[in-house]
């Protein structure tokens, strides 16, 4: 099966996403693993975004420039990428699993009537075949998956590989023109940025982060007390925000903030990939969860299989006792 390895060069509001250079590292490995002259190509969809091509560590960049691609538009990007794929027949397309590319990786395989390989954490070329390791059920199980057919559309989670370094010299860019309908059914209008919050969770040295395991809004006071004793702030996982218990600006993860505090104490958080991508860079991670198999324990440095409602006040007391 011939065909090159493509990486969707994802960018948003003028910047390449952090995931793109990770995917380029992975893509390079796969292209080398398949051998036989397989190239790594980055695909850049946008409008006036060609300047980003110079930062892509690939053998070549295929660029489609169209006004409808100026901001994320799943309808436009799916039509453009599907046309390009049909024309050039890549072996596999690595797409970042991010909110920006999300609709595209849902639509594209359906349009091409191929399977999506979702939640991919690792990918290998084995005897000319592709094999993926995929994370299911919020990180509780993993599946090893053999992929047949081409193109394989592979949705890759953050953290699959270290980011590639910027290339020494800019890769060659090929401009491709595609026709898109003038009357797209999905139209981007504008961005709505959030009101600045009371605390900026990205600027804290200590975050006491609460998840669904905190159970009630009232119990968040237990985390507030600990955060106060440690001179930090309270952040949260998505369900806590969705319940309206804390403002959106406190959310950590894919749709929220990416944080790198000196201490991240995860209290009643299961450790779903969408949460972990926002906090895995913390210097010290302590997790408390009643479930000893919770995925959070594989990113934490220290863990306690116990009840947060008992642990939080106990730690607050222990911290205060040390200060005396």
């Amino acid at each position: 099966m011939a065909g090159n390895i493509w990486v969707l060069a994802e960018h948003w509001r003028g910047r390449l996403s952090d995931l793109t250079p990770e995917l380029l590292t992975l893509g390079r490995e796969i292209a080398d693993g398949l051998g036989a002259g397989t190239k790594l190509e980055a695909v850049l969809l946008g409008h006036g975004a060609q300047g980003l091509a110079a930062g892509l560590a690939a053998d070549g960049v295929i660029s489609i420039d169209h006004a409808a691609l100026a901001e994320p538009n799943p309808e436009a990007s799916c039509l453009a990428l599907a046309a390009l794929i049909e024309q050039q027949k890549p072996r596999a397309v690595l797409v970042p699993l991010s909110n920006v590319a999300a609709d595209l990786f849902g639509l594209l395989p359906a349009r091409l009537t191929v399977s999506l390989v979702n939640f991919c954490r690792d990918l290998r070329a084995v005897d000319g075949r592709l094999e993926a390791l995929c994370v299911l059920y919020g990180g509780k199980l993993e599946a090893t998956v053999a992929i047949s057919g081409a193109p394989a559309i592979i949705g890759v989670l953050p953290g699959s590989r270290p980011a590639s370094a910027a290339p020494a010299s800019a890769p060659p860019v090929t401009e491709v023109t595609v026709e898109l309908p003038a009357d797209l059914r999905v139209r981007f209008e504008t961005y709505v940025d959030p009101e600045p919050g009371d605390v900026d969770v990205t600027q804290q040295d200590v975050l006491v982060s609460v998840g669904r395991g905190i159970q009630t809004q009232d119990n968040i006071a237990l985390a507030e007390e600990l955060a106060e004793a440690l001179g930090g702030a309270v952040s949260a996982s998505r369900p806590v925000i969705d319940q309206g218990w804390l403002p959106l600006t406190r959310q950590v993860g894919k749709s929220g903030a990416t944080v790198k505090p000196k201490l991240y104490l995860a209290a009643g958080i299961s450790g779903a990939p969408e949460h972990v991508e926002g906090m895995k860079g913390a210097a010290l991670i302590v997790a408390v969860n009643t479930d000893p198999h919770a995925p959070i324990f594989s990113v934490a440095h220290y863990g306690y299989a116990g009840d947060v409602l008992e642990f939080l006040p106990a730690l607050t007391a222990a911290v205060k006792a040390r200060k005396k």
Partner: protein
């Protein structure tokens, strides 16, 4: 606006998940099914639109264990109709589910066309695709996912749809109706309905059942094996009473100048 909400059951991952004897699938007998969390938000979004500007809300699910209670709960919350699709086979890949839904929807009496199909977005069990965009492709409707708010435009031909990006930023889109939307979170937490009202719905309301013929849908993915994640970078687990562990943690923090 007439709205269709699609709902599905997923394993409750707070429970332990077991791998079936074949070594490559989930032991479905051992799981506790719950409705996919995002579907509750999809239903809430649909009910908010109905509260504001009228219309009907229909919920539809493929038959599976414990799904009746989910459908009756939706009726108790304010849905007008609840439809259960009997499909023979119990488990579906995303591609199968999308194909089946695309075939069954036109066959439901007095349902289509609706102005909006809302689904939850990204359930935790998707390996081979995402159902809502695949369904949209098959129905030839536009799709937008990771949606956190929907407002109908006055003339009913388009909707204003908010889509979530990182750091709390949202994109505002205008989407031509009818459309399929994958809802990430409703603008308000899903409404609560007391058990007594659900019981009352079970007595006074009925689920409409429709048959869907079985089908062949080829997947290009083959699960070779399923495993529990290896405990590679596993945390050092601290043992003891909450107080004992708290004092160990306080000591660790203090040694790093954090407490």
């Amino acid at each position: 606006m007439n709205i269709l909400v699609l709902m599905k059951m997923v394993p409750d991952i707070v429970e332990e998940l077991e791998i079936a004897p074949d070594g490559k699938s989930l032991d479905v007998e051992a799981v506790r099914p719950i409705v996919s969390e995002r579907d509750d938000h999809a239903l809430e979004q649909a009910l908010l639109l109905k509260d504001k500007s009228g219309g009907t809300v229909t919920v539809l699910a493929i038959e599976s264990r414990d799904v009746d209670e989910v459908l009756f709960t939706a009726l108790a919350k304010g849905a007008d109709r609840a439809i259960k699709v009997a499909a023979g086979e119990a488990i579906f890949t995303a591609a199968e589910a999308a194909a089946l839904l695309a075939r069954v929807l036109p066959a439901v009496p007095n349902l289509m066309p609706v102005q909006l199909v809302v689904t939850g977005c990204q359930a935790i069990d998707d390996l081979d695709g995402v159902v809502a965009p695949a369904l949209a492709e098959r129905l030839k409707l536009p799709y937008l996912g990771i949606v956190t708010g929907v407002e109908a435009e006055a003339d009913g031909s388009r909707a204003i749809v908010f889509k979530e990006y990182a750091g709390g930023t949202r994109g505002r889109y205008s989407v031509c109706l009818p459309a399929v939307l994958g809802v990430q979170a409703a603008p308000k937490p899903p409404r609560y309905v007391p058990v007594a009202k659900v019981r009352a719905a079970m007595k006074s309301r009925t689920l409409e059942c429709v048959e869907a013929p079985a089908q062949e849908e080829r997947s290009l993915l083959e699960i070779v094996s399923m495993t529990k994640p290896q405990a590679a970078g596993r945390a050092e687990m601290l043992e003891g009473s909450p107080e004992e562990v708290a004092s160990k943690v306080a000591e660790i923090l203090s040694s790093r100048g954090l407490a």
